[in-house]
């Protein structure tokens, strides 16, 4: 998709249709003739020709053929090594500041990760036609306003990077904890995000926040196998079977974050990665260095002064100093109106209240969380806890 988009001069809509047609043609042809030795090259070549045909047909009406042909680039097939560059060009295009902030993640999910419009609509809790319209508007803006398909040059790169890192992070979190649908974890999104983070780290080896993001994704993805049980329900961190964590991802992530922090330019991704590393170095939940984690969240507040970070700090303080200490912080945070509709806040309060044996209040908080309709896989966990506190109530 990325390569074809580049070959057709950045027109995402045209590239999408051409790639789809090429895949359909492949299904027909290859069944009869067998899969070619370089299937990717075949698809790119066929897609490019289909796009050319379409431009010729349309430009005969609009008399733009010469200009369009000139913009299409050389006819030879791209070497396989270009894939990474093309994906980077595509993501910088999808994350361009000229596009509405709200559409950048959906557009990246569609164009880079290949999700269907229906899947994306469900992730963002909007009706499918609404999402389809937003995506179409974005594609037209790219084409009509001339948003280029490329990695920005040095001067712009620093500014544009923050936006791209954020989108990659959001793609990962969507894979790690899906907001829509019944499946909690979508591995292919996590893998796509990690692939993009690796490409960015290669492109920008001197940016510690880029390595920090990659480290965070690796350390978090390392826990994937342990995060859901046989029924697909969420298994919280302290209950996960750590033997199912991936040691090579953890080793790589820890090395990355250590090296990044050594550069002395800390930032939010590095700090989030450091927190993840605290968890991954603990041989068991009981051995977790919660004091260090609480301190890291405190440091993170300087870059991300949000009640969500403070809430996480409260949980860490509760683990280090006892539930009462954590509840004090959490109750202050809970006063924030924007957090009232965040189910995880009520779950966190409920957990601390439960540990303080304040069962009636815990039950109420679990119920509040359920009313706010958390993702399906979390609900089973909350129901279980609610049953526990209500049982001896």
């Amino acid at each position: 998709m990325a390569t074809v988009t580049r070959l057709v001069g950045g027109d995402l809509g045209l590239a999408e249709d051409a790639v789809q047609d090429a895949c359909a043609a492949a299904l027909g042809r290859w069944a009869a003739t067998g899969v070619p030795s370089n299937p990717r090259a075949w698809l790119v070549s066929v897609a490019r020709n289909k796009a050319l045909d379409r431009i010729r047909r349309e430009s005969r009406r609009l008399d733009k053929e010469t200009a369009a042909m000139r913009d299409l680039g050389p006819p030879e097939l791209p070497p396989a090594a270009r894939t990474g560059d093309d994906e980077l060009g595509l993501i910088f295009m999808c994350c361009h500041p000229a596009l509405d902030a709200q559409v950048r993640v959906p557009l990246t999910l569609r164009s880079v990760c290949g999700l269907t419009t229906a899947e994306i609509a469900s992730a963002f809790l909007v009706p499918e036609p609404t999402m389809a319209k937003r995506l179409l508007r974005a594609k037209h803006k790219i084409r009509d306003a001339g948003i280029p398909f490329r990695v920005p040059d040095r001067d712009d790169l620093a500014d544009r990077l923050a936006g791209v890192l954020r989108v990659v992070y959001l793609v990962f979190t969507e894979g790690h904890m899906a907001t829509g649908g019944e499946v909690l974890v979508r591995g292919e999104l996590c893998e796509a995000a990690i692939r993009l983070a690796r490409a960015l780290a290669e492109l920008l080896p001197d940016e510690p926040e880029v390595s920090g993001l990659l480290a965070l994704l690796l350390l978090t993805d390392a826990r994937r196998a342990a995060r859901t049980d046989a029924r697909g329900d969420l298994v919280v961190l302290e209950e996960q079977d750590r033997r199912r964590w991936d040691p090579s991802l953890i080793a790589e992530g820890e090395a990355l974050v250590t090296e990044a922090l050594r550069q002395g330019r800390p930032g939010p991704y590095q700090l989030h990665a450091a927190i993840a590393a605290c968890h991954s170095t603990a041989p068991s939940a009981a051995h977790t260095d919660w004091r260090q984690i609480a301190a890291l969240y405190g440091e993170l507040l300087r870059y991300e002064p949000s009640p969500v970070v403070e809430a996480n700090r409260a949980v860490a303080v509760a683990m280090a100093e006892g539930p009462a200490a954590g509840l004090v912080i959490l109750d202050t945070v809970a006063a924030h109106p924007q957090l009232q509709r965040w189910p995880q806040l009520h779950v966190a309060r409920a957990e601390l209240l439960r540990r303080l044996e304040r069962r009636a209040e815990a039950a109420e908080a679990y119920r509040l969380a359920l009313q706010l309709e958390p993702p399906a896989p979390e609900r089973a966990f909350i129901h279980r806890r609610l049953a526990e506190v209500a049982a001896t109530g």
């Binding site: 609009l62 008399d63 361009h96 306003a145 001339g146 280029p148 712009d156």
Partner: protein
């Protein structure tokens, strides 16, 4: 690709007094920006507009020609000028737009020209 830069500047009361030092400095900055775009070969045309009070708006409704004293849209900022440029892509156009002094207190809208074949 051709783009039109539509320059919106501060409301009349907030702009520097013509002839003042600040006004002269701003004028110099505009001239420098225009010269740079000409030098780079992207400038097609540009001009400042006289103030909003000099505007007359024309409409025809139900066969009747209506003239009003003032701009078409009543907005706080003043539509103060334009530049028509030819750039490789939006990034290049945005870079040039950012050099125009209007961005400091007002804004520059960058709109691609709709090319209609002759």
């Amino acid at each position: 690709m051709k783009y039109l830069f539509v320059l919106y500047d501060r409301p009349e009361g907030e702009s520097p007094e013509p002839g003042s030092d600040e006004w002269m400095e701003t004028l110099g900055a505009y001239q420098a920006a225009d010269a740079a775009m000409v030098e780079a070969g992207v400038m097609i045309d540009c001009a400042p507009l006289q103030s909003v009070e000099t505007a007359t708006t024309v409409r025809i409704r139900n066969g009747e020609t209506l003239l009003t004293d003032g701009p078409a849209a009543e907005i706080k900022e003043q539509l103060g000028g334009y530049a028509l440029v030819d750039c490789a892509n939006l990034d290049e156009a945005l870079k040039w737009a950012a050099t125009i002094p209007a961005v400091l207190h007002g804004s520059v809208e960058v709109r691609p020209i709709l090319e209609i074949p002759s």
